[in-house]
């Protein structure tokens, strides 16, 4: 593999450039996926049958925590990439681990939130609204969970192999993924929770 020294490490080989572009296209597909989920949610949001409405069940506290944690983790992974560009591998690994820990905390809050919904009688089978709600949130949550595992494999490789064009590329792509999940969450926060609570 030819390595182009004039470019940042994550772009430095041809395969790396292909990977990054491929991942952007994949994000295009993910936007459609979440877009469809949102569309389904908005069609079904008032179709609550005999079940509760959003205003009945949403709780602001865990949602605020989730938002805060996820936004912070997006920031820490940004710092990780910054450290990578400067070649501070140790700092980078630290920030990545911090990001993953925040991700795990996020999932913890989300699990609590789901238990709360089931507790107040808003299970998956209650109504079209609850099904759409839990599927949309669940898809995002599953992405975060997947991301945590993925990130662990990347951190492992950073520790084992150090910063190479390959690991740099993987780390960079993972950071794109993580930021994307953050953006999706902002939509969830604004259009599902805030809109549903007023």
């Amino acid at each position: 593999m030819k390595i182009d020294q004039s470019l940042p490490l994550e772009y430095s080989t041809q395969q790396n450039q292909l990977n990054i572009l491929g991942f952007w296209v994949f994000i295009g597909a993910e936007i459609m996926l979440f877009g469809t989920l949102f569309a389904g949610y908005f069609v079904l949001v008032d179709r609550t049958g005999n079940g509760p409405t959003g205003a009945d069940i949403f709780e602001i506290t865990p949602v605020l925590f989730e938002t805060f944690i996820l936004l912070t983790s997006s920031f820490t992974i940004g710092l990780g990439i910054h450290a990578m560009r400067k070649g501070y591998t140790k700092a980078m690994i630290g920030f990545y681990i911090l990001t993953l820990v925040l991700g795990i905390v996020f999932i913890g809050f989300e699990v609590y939130e789901f238990m709360h919904y089931i507790h107040v009688g808003a299970g998956l089978q209650t109504s079209a609204f609850t099904a759409a709600l839990l599927t949309t949130l669940g898809t995002h949550g599953a992405h975060v969970t997947f991301g945590v595992f993925w990130g662990m494999f990347i951190v492992y490789q950073l520790i084992q192999r150090g910063l190479t064009p390959e690991t740099a590329n993987k780390s960079f792509i993972f950071s794109l993924y993580w930021h994307f999940l953050d953006v999706v969450w902002i939509f969830i926060f604004s259009f599902i929770y805030l809109k549903g609570m007023v």
């Binding site: 572009l21 469809t36 109504s127």
Partner: protein, 649 residues
């Protein structure tokens, strides 16, 4: 339903047992054959683990042809049942299952892999690349498609076929009205193969954008590559919608959610909307690459470059955009109000304009050309008038007010077959004959080929034109029988005869392949048709590294310039070539996905969990793996080239 009843064992129909035995015997025969001829190693090393885009293309091609016969068998059964009034060959349930599998197999597992075969084989060659951007993922795409297809195909012997139509409308597809596991099969078969398609979409977009030969700007790409690029962009935007819809449908059936139910707030029309937001663009995913193939063939055999290159590209881009804006024409009559109907009526008819532009461009290309009537050209010539019939009747269907008269009649069935058979199937057969020498190093017999083209084209007309009339007379689609007093008998008999003609035509293709394998002269050279684009600059069959030297391009017709305008196509010296390594993981992952889908279909949760873990293990393995590929040394490249090109070099 009782647990074991779901597997439909024992099954009431002896035909199913016969099929089981037949499938079992075939499998045994294949295993014994492979063992006897000691071909397991060959199969594994050369095909199952391959990451070569050309081999993957050929595997798509074989699958597509097999599925053509599977879907064709369903078609002929339907036509036989309808041939005379009050026929009792099939009962209503059986008919439902057959039209459902026929539609699903033909669109998802025949037409899709057919275009994927050409995209895989041709695009990297046309742009002067050595492989696609992600060879591993490419293999995975194929295996996901293949396993999805197999999943749908075993449904009829284990558990029962889907029976809610290929559109799978809820609430018809709900547990209440579709009690067998058939619809579960449908949901998972489409989910798994759809995932493969999405991955191909990403792979091809990156390949086309990033791996073109020096000098090949976007506006110098050959037309088939352009059409593939546009189709793959549509794939990336349309397939996630299907993913979500199928997931929701799966939840409704397996976990009793209420997305598409008629109680607890569920909304059946949501399925119809999602399905067609994917489904209509899907039609253009099929037709645009087909148009691309016609463009290549028409320009080659007219001996001149394509008329109106820029307008060809522009019209494709416009079509891809419009294709997302027309979906509700599939339910004009389901109560959505006059304004909505009018808007979608207009967008629908608007697609006829860029399509017309393309047809006129082909006609202008022919106009001043020196036409050579080869088999691929014959298909292209037969395509234009037949497709136009389909297109014009499409505009008729697009007028929402008129659609109240003939929606869901045989008129519709006639329309889309008149579009999809000339549009897609003819193009694929034309492409098959055109690219066969590139793929295998010898030609298909031209005489048999031309006979076949005529038989298929005329039979298409005979099979589907009568449906326009019976449809206007009120013969509903998906109706399994009718009484003599309706007067549909004659029309349906004619259709049946046409269907037999089509069957003969498709069998002749197989005959042609066998005949040509035995009798066709070998070593036709790299460029048997005097073609114009880069794929014909490689030796036939193409060596695994495609191009020994990186080509340099100056126009849309790189090879033509090299042949007749003294352009030096390969100015670079020989260098060692980097190639990816083979891998068994995509195949294994495909098998796990098959098991995963099968477990889900029957709600067997322990295997479902185990296979899910298996999928993640494969991904983890991929993450940790180091796969630098390997280099082919210069001497080896030189030796291969002089062997393949012989005196031509």
């Amino acid at each position: 339903m009782e647990y074991f009843e779901r597997f439909a064992i024992p099954h009431p129909s002896p035909a199913i047992y016969a099929s089981m035995v037949a499938i079992g015997l075939t499998v045994i025969a294949i295993i014994v054959g492979l063992t006897y001829f000691k071909k397991w190693g060959y199969l594994w090393h050369e095909w199952l683990t391959t990451v070569d885009h050309k081999r993957i293309g050929i595997m798509y091609l074989i699958s597509a042809l097999l599925m053509l016969f599977r879907g064709g068998a369903d078609a002929i059964m339907m036509r036989a049942q309808m041939a005379v009034p009050d026929n009792t060959l099939l009962d209503a349930q059986h008919y439902n299952e057959i039209f459902t599998t026929h539609g699903t197999v033909m669109i998802i597992f025949m037409a899709m892999p057919f275009i994927m075969a050409f995209m895989n084989y041709i695009v990297p060659l046309q742009i002067g690349a050595r492989d696609v951007a992600f060879p591993r993922l490419n293999a995975l795409s194929f295996w996901l498609f293949f396993m999805g297809a197999m999943l749908l195909n075993i449904s009829f012997v284990i558990g029962g076929s889907p029976d809610a139509g290929w559109t799978n409308y809820f609430p018809l597809a709900n547990n209440e009205f579709s009690q067998s596991v058939g619809t579960n099969y449908y949901l998972f078969a489409l989910q798994i193969s759809g995932l493969g398609t999405l991955i191909t979409g990403i792979n091809m977009i990156v390949t086309i954008l990033k791996m073109r030969a020096p000098g090949m700007t976007l506006m110098k790409m050959p037309m088939f590559t352009w059409s593939s690029l546009v189709a793959n962009v549509i794939i990336v935007f349309a397939f996630p919608v299907l993913t979500v819809a199928l997931t929701m449908g799966t939840f409704d059936r397996l976990f009793a959610t209420n997305f598409f139910t008629t109680s607890d707030g569920g909304m059946d029309m949501l399925w119809a909307n999602f399905f067609w937001v994917w489904g209509h663009p899907e039609v253009y995913i099929l037709i645009l690459p087909a148009f691309g193939i016609y463009s290549e063939i028409i320009s080659t055999f007219s001996g001149r470059n394509l008329y109106g290159y820029k307008s060809m590209v522009g019209s494709m881009v416009i079509i891809s955009f419009l294709s997302f804006l027309v979906w509700t024409h599939h339910f004009f009559t389901m109560g959505q109000g006059a304004l909505t109907n009018s808007i979608f009526s207009i967008t629908t008819m608007a697609i006829a304009v860029p399509t017309g532009v393309k047809i006129f461009n082909w006609l202008f290309t022919l106009w001043k050309g020196k036409i050579v009537f080869t088999t691929p050209m014959l298909y292209s010539m037969l395509f234009i008038p037949t497709f136009t019939i389909g297109g014009v009747t499409g505009v008729m269907l697009g007028m929402s007010a008129a659609d109240y008269q003939y929606h869901n009649t045989m008129f519709l069935v006639a329309h889309f077959h008149m579009v999809i058979i000339p549009g897609v199937v003819f193009a694929m057969l034309a492409g098959l004959h055109y690219y066969w020498p590139k793929m295998f190093g010898f030609m298909l017999n031209e005489k048999i080929g031309k006979w076949t083209a005529w038989i298929i084209a005329m039979s298409t007309l005979l099979a589907f034109m009568p449906m326009f009339f019976s449809g206007l007379d009120g013969q509903a689609r998906r109706m399994y029988t009718y009484s003599a007093s309706t007067g549909f008998g004659l029309w349906n008999m004619l259709s049946f005869i046409g269907a037999i003609g089509l069957t003969i035509g498709f069998i002749l293709i197989v005959y042609n392949v066998i005949y040509s394998i035995r009798y066709s002269p070998r070593n036709v050279g790299s460029d048997p048709w005097d073609a114009r684009t880069l794929e014909w600059a490689t030796p036939s069959p193409v060596p695994y590294y495609n191009f020994a030297k990186v080509p340099h391009v100056i126009s849309t017709e790189a090879l033509w310039d090299a042949k007749y305008r003294q352009h030096d196509l390969f100015p670079e010296p020989y260098e060692k070539i980097h190639m990816p390594n083979n891998s068994g993981v995509p195949f294994i992952l495909g098998c796990i996905f098959f098991a995963w889908g099968f477990s889900f279909v029957f709600g067997m949760w322990i295997p479902t969990i185990l296979t899910t873990i298996g999928i993640f293990i494969c991904m983890a393995h991929r993450s940790l793996e180091k796969d630098p590929g390997h280099y082919v040394p210069v001497e080896k490249v030189k030796a291969t080239e002089s062997k393949l090109r012989g005196s031509q070099l």
